[in-house]
């Protein structure tokens, strides 16, 4: 491959934009995970700093479509264990705004943890405020999927359980800023048990180390903030060694396997989280990723000379972004979205916190009014506290507004 291959930004933008519209019949196998494909395309455009190629109307339509995939509690709230997001409407389910064909959902209607994660992430990418997300139900949906060994299955009716779904649960919790639906001690224990003798993580205990599961494991520990208790200094050193050893030219996921574009992200992001990403050979890695670029239709493939696909195209641009190349937007390695999206998410968290404080304040004010005849020292304390909290509620959003306006 010619090392001077140029990065085909415009073609990649067209590739991701096309994916958002329609896929040919041979992709029918993606029918249940269209929301994840949406995420790859949207986040891909975001990394390319090209979201403005979508019209405002189009963005709004995508937001509406994503919300239509939300599994919401029924009247009896008997289905909260199945709440979250579905990947598409293929199983004959409709939401209130789309209810045309069927009156109600069937008992097989259920969210999928990867769709809940990528659905929420997609909404953030489109600058939505998650106001219409039933956060409580999403978290109940997540809670219902954790198994006694700490791992997660993907959907309520049953599936395999492994590291991928722990990562999805962590991302959902991070986006909703609430880890109460995860037993983090158990999840951390599962991750520790999946640490393989060669220093990296398998999909579960006893299983072979793998670049994808290693990313999921390590990013989950970071998101749950349990890394320090989970791994020793020596274990971190071995993990570093295993990860840098995955570079041949680009990166591969297991020893003696061929390099594959997506591992430039999975292993690259793990190295970034370990703080030693700068130690890899950027030039070789870039050359490999570009060798899998489709110079005609855009996008990236798993290997050179084969057709590009949504996942590898997204992971390809992410892998290049980690190296700060081609004016790509910097990404947050743990959440796998741009830093812009992470900032937007943190602004939302600050707003939610402020709203929560205001609610608390109102409640204590109400209480103070009802008990006004018995003002004593404790009560005065409550009033002072409420005042301080109230002040905080005004000041905190203001600080965020000013800070982030400057930051961006």
């Amino acid at each position: 491959m010619d090392s001077s291959t140029s990065f085909e930004r415009k073609k990649h933008i067209r590739f991701f934009s096309r994916i958002l519209q329609i896929l040919p019949h041979r992709y029918s196998i993606l029918d249940t995970s269209r929301l994840t494909i949406t995420f790859f395309a949207l986040s891909g455009l975001d990394v390319l700093n090209a979201l403005d190629h979508l019209s405002e109307k189009n963005k709004q339509e995508i937001i509406e479509w994503i919300y239509s995939l939300q599994v919401i509690p029924n009247e009896a709230e008997s289905n909260t264990c199945k709440c979250g997001f579905r990947g598409s409407t293929c199983n004959g389910v409709t939401t209130p705004q789309y209810a045309k064909a069927m009156e109600s959902t069937n008992e097989y209607d259920s969210s999928h943890i990867a769709m809940t994660y990528t659905g929420l992430a997609s909404l953030l990418i489109l600058s939505d405020d998650l106001q219409r997300v039933n956060k409580k139900a999403c978290l109940e949906g997540i809670r219902a999927l954790q198994l006694p060994d700490g791992s997660f299955k993907s959907t309520y009716d049953g599936s395999e359980n492994d590291m991928r779904f722990i990562y999805c649960a962590c991302c959902v919790s991070a986006i909703l800023n609430d880890f109460s639906a995860i037993d983090t001690a158990q999840a951390t224990s599962f991750i520790r048990k999946s640490l393989c003798y060669d220093g990296a993580f398998g999909q579960g205990p006893g299983l072979e180390s793998h670049g994808g599961s290693t990313f999921c494991a390590f990013a989950s520990l970071k998101l749950m903030k349990t890394l320090n208790s989970a791994l020793s200094k020596q274990q971190l050193k071995w993990l570093e060694y295993w990860c840098v050893s995955r570079q041949k030219m680009g990166f591969h996921g297991r020893p003696h396997k061929d390099d594959d574009t997506c591992y430039s992200f999975w292993v690259g992001a793990t190295l970034k989280l370990l703080g030693v990403f700068e130690l890899i050979d950027f030039k070789e890695n870039e050359e490999f990723v570009l060798s899998t670029q489709d110079n005609i239709v855009g996008g990236f493939a798993k290997w050179p000379q084969i057709h590009p696909d949504a996942l590898h195209s997204y992971m390809g641009v992410c892998g290049l972004s980690l190296m700060g190349l081609h004016n790509l937007q910097p990404i947050d390695p743990a959440l796998n979205v741009t830093q812009r999206v992470r900032t937007h998410m943190e602004e939302l968290h600050a707003k939610w916190a402020a709203a929560e404080t205001r609610k608390l304040q109102t409640t204590s004010m109400d209480r103070s009014r009802t008990k006004s005849s018995t003002i004593d020292r404790t009560h005065t304390g409550t009033v002072v506290l409420a005042f301080v909290i109230g002040l905080g509620a005004v000041v905190v959003p203001w600080i965020y507004k000013v800070y982030f306006r400057h930051a961006t």
Binding site: I29, R34, G92, A101, D157, E160, Y197, Q203, S209, P255
Partner: protein
Amino acid sequence: MSSSSDEDESYKMYKDRPEWNDVKSVPQDDGPAPVVQIAYSEKFKDVFDYFRAVMAMNEKSERALELTGSAIELNPANYTVWHYRREVLKALKKDIAVEMKFLSQIIMEQQKNYQVWHHRRALVEWSQDFSEELDFTADIISRDQKNYHAWQHRQWVIQEFEQWDGELDFIDKLLEQDVRNNSAWNERYFVIEHTTGFTDEVVKREIEYAIKKINLATKNESAWSYLRGVLQDKGLTWSKSLCDQIHSWRGEGLRSPHLAAFLLDMFDEDLEKKKCDVNKTMDKVRSLCKELAEDTDTVRRKYWNFVLQRMTKEYEVK
């Protein structure tokens, strides 16, 4: 996929089948502005229109079972179809052995699909019949030695039904065919960890085993990782005979980067335990890192320079 049956002229659409004319099909409601649409084929639409109808009615019948088969053929990744199929199989009290035959065929065509392997595990859990599982996974592994799903299923069967006997022989054969088969090395560790455990005797035996395999391919990362693995609790310098072997390989001029990296970690351990002369050992560390960075492992040159810096900072007396 399924292009052959797409072109099959004798195939009859469900909407044209008399035994289905009592059912009103349910087209997909994709809303006013769908995203990532799929240009479904007519056959795909037909099958899933009826599948949606069947799910809505919750009909568990022979014809529903047949319909799930058609749906699986068109999209084996649709986990809801598989789940529904299991519900129908249960309701009709179907023979699991027949289902296993159907499934084995699909797995042969779809070896890396999560749903088919989950279905297989569900059937085995249900019937408790694991008699074909080791042969079946061995067959898949013989076609694709690193198939993660097959190994995962095999490990589950072995652990669940305590089928440990014979597994080390199975691994031996695979490593004879390809000494770089990392999945087989991993399986070896898995079996020993769950059977004898890594007692002193076993560790000594496994060191000998790894040494023999390293002699066949000195740059084989898998064998070197295994060696580190079996020594992770005891320390890399625990075995005198291994230390002798490492030095003798170096003496013979063997320049495998894995050998240098292993020796480097042995020095790291000695330095940490203060079991050596710091200056002399650090000289050796410097020369090993230089060899790796500049000669035998240049793609990782920044890493080896970083290791040198880290060790210098940690151990060298100012």
